[in-house]
């Protein structure tokens, strides 16, 4: 059974596990976009990159944890400065690609993306491939796939005709991380939401802890990153900010 070191902690896992599996076993959170436990790992979103090297002293590389096999002697850092900088820049790029997505906005805020340097594109797909793999592997239909290459690459139906294999089950829409629309945070006018970046100010004024880990969060009546069904009350945040001043 392979033995590896993650953040200085030694862990032994089943043969065939990935570094992502091993990290989760240790309770270390690693952000992902294109990963789903029920589907084969894809390695396309690059958000789960970790610093990894063999113990032979070679310079560590940033590799996607979901596809990296847990092997003997591997040394992994999941939250080094290099990794955090990479995640932050990736998310700046993601939120510029699809600013209407709540998942991406939440992640961007969590990683401290505060500036918009790139023009927003408002694309509705980040090509994480979850829908394609869902259709093929869980729904056993395989009605959609990728087509073309590079900038023109997209999820497509062959010849733009709905395949007879499609059973209209909707699993592809269910699993899409971009479909969920963003909440209207304090900066609703711009494409960078930053809604949940305002938690701390509000929470610590009225309570002595961040309320997002309480379910449901009533502090400013903004659903925390894990709750997308609670309606947003812009006024609550606005009045809290006014109190601050």
């Amino acid at each position: 059974m392979p033995k590896l070191k993650i953040n200085g902690i030694e862990v032994e896992v089943d043969h065939g596990s990935s570094v992502l599996d091993a990290a989760r076993f240790l309770g270390i959170p690693i952000p992902t976009l294109c990963h789903d436990d029920g589907l084969t790992p894809y390695g396309a979103c690059r958000l789960c990159v970790v610093e990894a090297a063999n113990s032979n002293g070679a310079r560590p590389k940033l590799l996607s944890a979901c596809t990296l096999p847990a092997e003997d002697g591997l040394v992994v850092q999941t939250h080094s400065a290099r990794v955090e900088r990479a995640r932050k820049l990736l998310l700046e790029l993601y939120v510029a690609t699809a600013p209407q997505s709540k998942t991406l906005q939440d992640l961007a805020s969590r990683y401290g993306v505060r500036q918009e340097r790139l023009a927003p594109k408002f694309e509705s797909c980040i090509q994480c491939g979850l829908c394609v793999r869902m259709c093929q592997e869980q729904m056993m239909a395989g009605a959609i796939g990728f087509a073309f290459r590079g900038a023109k690459r997209k999820v497509a139906r062959a010849f733009d005709l709905t395949s007879p294999l499609c059973r209209q089950c909707g699993a592809c829409m269910y699993i899409c991380p971009v479909c969920e629309l963003r909440c209207h945070g304090a900066n609703a006018e711009s494409t960078l939401c930053n809604g949940c970046l305002n938690f701390a100010t509000v929470c610590f004024q009225s309570y002595d802890q961040a309320m997002c880990f309480f379910d449901p969060c009533h502090a400013c009546e903004i659903g925390g990153p894990v709750r997308s069904d609670v309606a947003v009350k812009l006024s609550a945040v606005k009045s809290a900010n006014e109190q601050e001043r």
Binding site: G43, A44, C45, R46, V49, L62, L63, S64, T67, L68, P69, E71, R82, R85, A86, L89, L90, L93, Y94, T97, R117, L118, I126, Q127, F146, F148, R149, G150, A151, K152, R153
Partner: protein, 617 residues
């Protein structure tokens, strides 16, 4: 041809080939590589044959077409054996004179001899030509001597003797050990030690094992692999068979770009002849080794030069790379252990076997052994293929071998390694060329493309050009490469158009960094190199575009103005005829003027203006 069932039979057959060939017999070899062919080599061949027949000399003098000789600038090229007389810029109408000189052993045709551009002196033989004199052509040396479609030619120059040696008594482990000792590093670009790769494959017990030759050569401006496959395919085949013995492989594939039909043709002929002789197939030369090679054609995707994408392509899938690890030696073609090496790497194997690992390690620098083949192109007098020992300086390459920059212009930069490489500025011209030095300078060896640039090239435009290429060729699977190449391209275009901001430079660097660090495959990881190196060495050029809206090299269209100098214009009217937008006004013999509102700055008028009256500012 007979089927050879043992090494003794091979030696005997080789002896027969040598005997039947009179080394003193006059032979006219004409380079028929793609470059010389476009320059009329086939007409030269036809004219030579016709004249020989006319004079009834066809039984006394041979005519042979060979692969690329390397000095493409001076093509079509010819060599007259056995003297080794070197002719350049040969045309079909020279055939009569050539045949006359060859048939009665008189003076060579003076005007076809290479002439030194400085001294005006003519030289007789190839090794006296400065372009060749400083090269060490262990891979390309035979291109000028053999007809790639005749295996007997290859046997005559010692071909397949390395294979015989190995099958006779060098066990697989020893072959791998020798590869390690030689210091040979993969010539496809990354420079991974070949022996270490082979050793890793041997450590993997899974079977069957596969060998692949990567002949995708996607770098624009690189044509070394093509020339080697066209001119000496057997050197690659022999290397692969030796590899099969060392690695325990049962099947091999040569993956060739779709754009190389001649290379595919010559390779197939060579494979067929090798099979006929029994050098491929079951129980090769009675050694027990069974190995076959198949040619697979690419379908137009630069990313298929990446090894996991190449494997996917052979399997019938799209060329989308897989994350590594696992590496192909662990899980490759159809999940089996696979070694992939570049054309030049495979061709080096027989040389190392025959002349020894220590001989190979004696060439080059401490960590980069052997020779490297470069395609020297761009703003350079002597364009062509150059094979030199590792460690030679850029200065020697450009001035001694390359003959310097044409039109008296100044060297500005050298782009090495294609779109994955970077630009080395003129200030580093004394840099020795080896893997480590190039990486330190921010570039990369790559597969050997070397594009020389002068002061009329805009480095921001160069970065933009490469980014356009990479955005087009990115497979699109992973996010940082797909989005990053597009965003970089957009940013660079904006800067070239004069609309850049100073903050854009930091953004360029951040995007480049994240692409380099997080992309799934080598294409994405190196895609930002042109941007990073130009920012590092030519930052003031970027700033000029941004702060002053000026393109110092006068290339970026939005930042230049075309005009006609009144004192130089002679009214010849040539510019009006080629103007794309009818932006030039003027009557014949009278002063012409360019209407800046209509001018699209295509440069057509600049091309045709004899008195050089068209100015760009």
């Amino acid at each position: 041809m007979p089927k050879l069932n043992s090494i003794t039979e091979l030696d005997a057959y080789r002896a027969t080939c040598l005997q039947s060939h009179d080394a003193q017999r006059r032979c006219l070899t004409v380079c028929a590589g793609s470059g010389c062919t476009a320059g009329g080599a086939l007409d030269v061949l036809a004219a030579l044959r016709k004249d020989l027949e006319k004079r009834g000399l066809q039984d006394r003098i041979d005519v042979k077409s060979t692969g690329c000789h390397g000095f493409c600038e001076k093509g079509p090229l010819m060599i007259v054996w056995p003297e080794g007389i070197f002719y350049n810029r040969v045309a079909a109408r020279d055939a009569v004179a050539i045949v006359a000189s060859a048939s009665n052993g008189r003076q060579p045709v003076e005007k076809l001899l290479y002439q030194d551009p400085v001294t005006g002196q003519r030289v007789l033989r190839e090794d006296e030509v400065p372009f060749y004199a400083r090269q060490k052509r262990i891979l390309f040396g035979n291109n000028g001597r053999i007809d790639p479609k005749r295996i007997e030619d290859y046997l005559r120059v010692g071909g397949y003797s390395a294979l015989a040696r190995v099958l006779q008594g060098v066990p697989p482990e020893k072959v791998v050990h020798d590869m390690k000792r030689s210091g040979l590093r993969g010539r496809g670009g990354a420079g991974f030690p070949t022996g270490v790769k082979w050793e890793a494959l041997r450590a993997n017990p899974a079977t069957p094992k596969y060998i692949i030759c990567n002949a995708d050569e996607g770098d624009p401006g690189a044509f070394m692999d093509r020339s080697l496959l066209e001119g000496n395919p057997h050197s690659v085949i022999e290397g692969m068979i030796i590899g099969a013995h060392a690695l325990g492989a049962t099947a091999g594939f040569v993956y060739v770009r779709a754009e190389y039909p001649l290379a595919v043709e010559h390779l197939k002929v060579a494979l067929q002849q090798a099979e006929e002789l029994g050098l491929l197939g079951e129980n090769i030369l009675g050694s027990g080794l069974s190995f076959r090679i198949k040619v697979v054609q690419g379908a137009g995707a630069f990313v298929c030069g990446e090894e996991t994408a190449l494997i996917a392509s052979i399997e019938g899938r799209v060329g989308e790379p897989k994350p590594r690890p696992p590496y192909p030696v662990q899980s490759g073609l159809w999940g089996k252990p696979t070694v992939i090496n570049n054309v030049k790497t495979w061709a080096s194997v027989p040389q190392i076997i025959n002349r020894g690992a220590d001989w190979y390690a004696s060439i080059g620098t401490e960590r980069s052994k052997g020779t490297m083949v470069f395609s020297l192109v761009g703003k350079i007098n002597n364009t062509g293929l150059v094979e030199v020992p590792m460690g030679i300086t850029l200065r020697e390459m450009i001035y001694d071998i390359g003959g310097g920059i044409p039109k008296g212009r100044q060297l500005k930069a050298v782009q090495i390694g294609g779109p994955s490489g970077g630009c080395i500025p003129a200030s580093l011209v004394d840099l020795p060329i080896d893997y480590e030095e190039l990486t330190k300078a921010g570039s990369m060896m790559g597969s050997g493309g070397m594009v020389v640039m002068d002061d009329t090239n805009c480095m921001v435009d160069v970065a933009r050009y490469f980014m356009e290429f990479l955005a087009e060729e990115s497979c699109g699977k992973c996010f940082p490469c797909r989005e990053g190449t597009q965003r970089l391209r957009e940013l660079l275009t904006t800067i070239c158009q004069g609309n850049g901001k100073e903050e854009d430079l930091e953004l360029l660097e951040d995007l480049s960094w994240v692409m380099k660090e997080t992309s799934l495959c080598g294409l994405g990881q190196t895609a930002a190199n042109p941007v990073l190196t130009t920012l590092r060495y030519f930052r003031d050029e970027y700033l000029a575009h941004i702060r002053q809206r000026k393109c110092p090299a006068k290339v970026c269209r939005e930042l230049i103005v075309y005009s006609i100098e009144p004192t130089l214009c002679d009214g010849c009217h040539a510019c009006v005829q080629v103007c794309a937008t009818q932006a030039i006004l003027g009557e014949k013999k009278k002063l012409h003027e360019i209407d800046a509102g209509k001018c699209i700055k295509c440069g057509a008028c600049l091309e045709v203006c004899q008195p050089k009256a068209v100015l760009v500012s």
